[in-house]
Symmetry: C2
């Protein structure tokens, strides 16, 4: 087991009607003026935005709004938010939405108190030293951004989708999580969220670090719970307990609970980021295509942990032939993804002829010669995985 720091200071307030506590939670931070960031019309139509506003008004908290955040959020909206926040002297960011909204709120939080261009942080030219505090009312369990210090933004110019990690300053101080808010998520979006949270765990679980029994068990247990609840949510999307289990799994998948003491991989995420930057696909759907391909590649190159996953999560019988165990596990994972309505090939994702050479070129431009850790991917390996994702 490697040395690690586990630090998850976000206050997660979980359950029915918890959005009514948003004002009281913000009050703790002596906010002068809050910027409520949200996405499309659904938070307006559902009445959620109004309920959150009422909760703020009840505590005498002033606020302004920034709506219209899109999936795969881009830099223009961040610049707009930074300008608005400065003009209005905003000192607290409240994200009401899913990963895209939260990531945009984090980008604004860092940019508003920085003299330079906020993109410097994502491009690795500057480190985030300070930021406004960020709170969350979560509506889509998927990205885990409500409990992480990470944010991903796409620069429209050049289609660069880059991530930033600054947990000391960008991790939300609280996250309000009411599973009822997720009842109306369309099945496809629910499924994409499920793939996203599963892969957050798998990026940590597929490791060469030895002696990480507790980490393995937490990862496997959380994956097992997600899969069981995914079958149930397809049958009954308005079952509270099912939605609650999925929502909490999305958080612990990414707040550090899973994967303590492990060298993590993250190659699948980097491969997928190129796909969604180029083709604008939903992150979770892209992962459902890339990850089985990555695992198929690993079945021949480093099958050990893939075989363990197959056995402990998908009940593939143990055998000496680890490659065969691993491949059977991949097959079951693909079956599961398909069952919940996700694509598992580029074709099913709607990309008949992906420009693999361009994807490989961009990937290694952004991430260097070697990507990931479980097996370090050179250009040839990345290409092979993109090709496996066509099958």
């Amino acid at each position: 087991m490697n040395n690690f720091v586990f630090y998850s200071p976000t206050e997660f307030v979980f359950g029915k009607n918890t959005e009514s506590r948003t004002g009281e939670l913000i009050r703790k931070y002596d906010a002068y003026k809050v910027m409520i960031v949200y996405g499309g019309g659904s938070v307006v139509r559902s009445g959620l935005l109004q309920r959150v506003e009422a909760a703020l008004q009840a505590e005498g908290v002033e606020y302004i709004e920034l709506g219209g955040i899109q999936p795969n959020p881009t830099d223009p909206k961040v610049y707009e938010g930074i300008d608005l926040a400065r003009r209005e002297r905003v000192d607290f960011m409240l994200a009401v939405g899913g990963g895209s909204v939260i990531d945009t709120a984090k980008a604004i939080a860092a940019g508003v108190v920085y003299d330079g261009d906020f993109w410097d942080f994502y491009a690795g030219k500057a480190k985030v030293q300070k930021a406004l505090k960020v709170g969350v009312v979560l509506t889509i369990p998927a990205a885990g951004s409500e409990g992480s210090g990470n944010t991903v933004i796409t620069k429209v110019d050049g289609l660069q989708k880059l991530s930033l990690r600054a947990p000391e300053v960008l991790r939300p101080v609280f996250a309000v999580m009411n599973p009822e808010l997720t009842y109306t998520l369309p099945p496809y979006q629910t499924a994409c969220g499920i793939a996203d949270m599963m892969v957050h765990i798998m990026e940590r679980y597929f490791t060469n670090t030895q002696g990480v029994e507790i980490s393995d068990r937490l990862c496997e247990g959380t994956l097992t719970a997600i899969i069981k609840e995914a079958y149930k949510v397809k049958q009954n999307p308005e079952d509270y307990d099912t939605r609650a289990n999925i929502m909490w799994c999305g958080t612990i998948a990414h707040n550090g609970t899973c994967g303590v003491g492990c060298e993590e991989d993250w190659a699948s995420h980097f491969l997928e980021h190129e796909v969604s930057a180029l083709y604008g696909v939903t992150h979770g759907a892209g992962l459902a295509v890339i990850v089985p391909a990555w695992m198929t590649f690993m079945a021949t190159h480093n099958p050990k942990k893939i075989a363990q996953f197959a056995h402990r999560v998908f009940a593939v019988p143990e055998s000496d032939d680890l490659e065969e165990m691993a491949l059977t596990g991949v097959s079951r994972l693909k079956h599961f993804f398909r069952y919940i309505g996700l694509p598992v090939t580029f074709g099913e994702l709607g990309i008949e002829h992906p420009d693999i050479d361009l994807l490989v070129k961009k990937l290694h431009e952004h991430k260097g010669e070697l990507v990931g850790n479980y097996v370090k991917l050179n250009k040839e390996y990345s290409k092979e995985i993109f090709e496996l994702a066509c099958k």
Copy 2:
């Protein structure tokens, strides 16, 4: 699933040589003077105390010391600490030790800034409004006190062992956790710690709350890891990864990771507290006697979760006869406890003729007519469980 708040703001700094970071961690809190609290001679003999002092000196942090904390810590040492802390203007408590040392440090932290008698907090006569900050260098994985806002102190007069919960102010701000520090723990103490952390999980896991799949899986996964590593540590007490897994399990067993959204039980703890208050036994050993008896009682009164535990943690085959499944699970748990060197009856604990009437009387005096939640125990039930613990 019930509504819940998950809030675990302690910074856990885990791994080899991490005690060298103690000074730097305290520096973040602008401490003027630190009180280092510790137990017997082992932290002195091992050189740990010296290394911690060196880490404080390197950061220019002033400190005084309070040693001699005993297992099942008592109130006189708390009063001594409060007097000393006031005299020396201490503003930060550093516990170097296990649960007893940490719990004493917390009691002093609350008492030193309170005008009345610190025991008011434990007796439920006053609420802790503020306290000095507490940091930890952990040497015994067991109590989980490094990540909890709980403390248990015994009042010598009347042998009252009472617990206090005040996470807002008493939860440690950091915990340094170096598994190497636990290499020299005697097998019996290691085993007692293992029982303690297992029961912290079981008190949460044995619940009637429905729809808690993720909580169940995290509990079962952590229990499975502990049991596997417990066999290994008996063979090789100086294996780093084994000690590391056990140490981290002790923390997540009690920081809220396990048991989210569940109504918890805690009857076994309350029963055991009476045993250790009256007979001075080690808490973990007392639990190894009480918990199988409690589970045996539950096998007839409410077998569902006991049977699930038997199946998922101890691989008892599933059957329609839940009581039989549950009893087989209890038998395997007892076998496991005995294997790692723990007693599983009062007799094995060295108490040939426990005064059960007195234990029952004290229990219900302290905890009211009904104790626990999984099945609420009246006096008759408590008596039955104490009697089962004789067999």
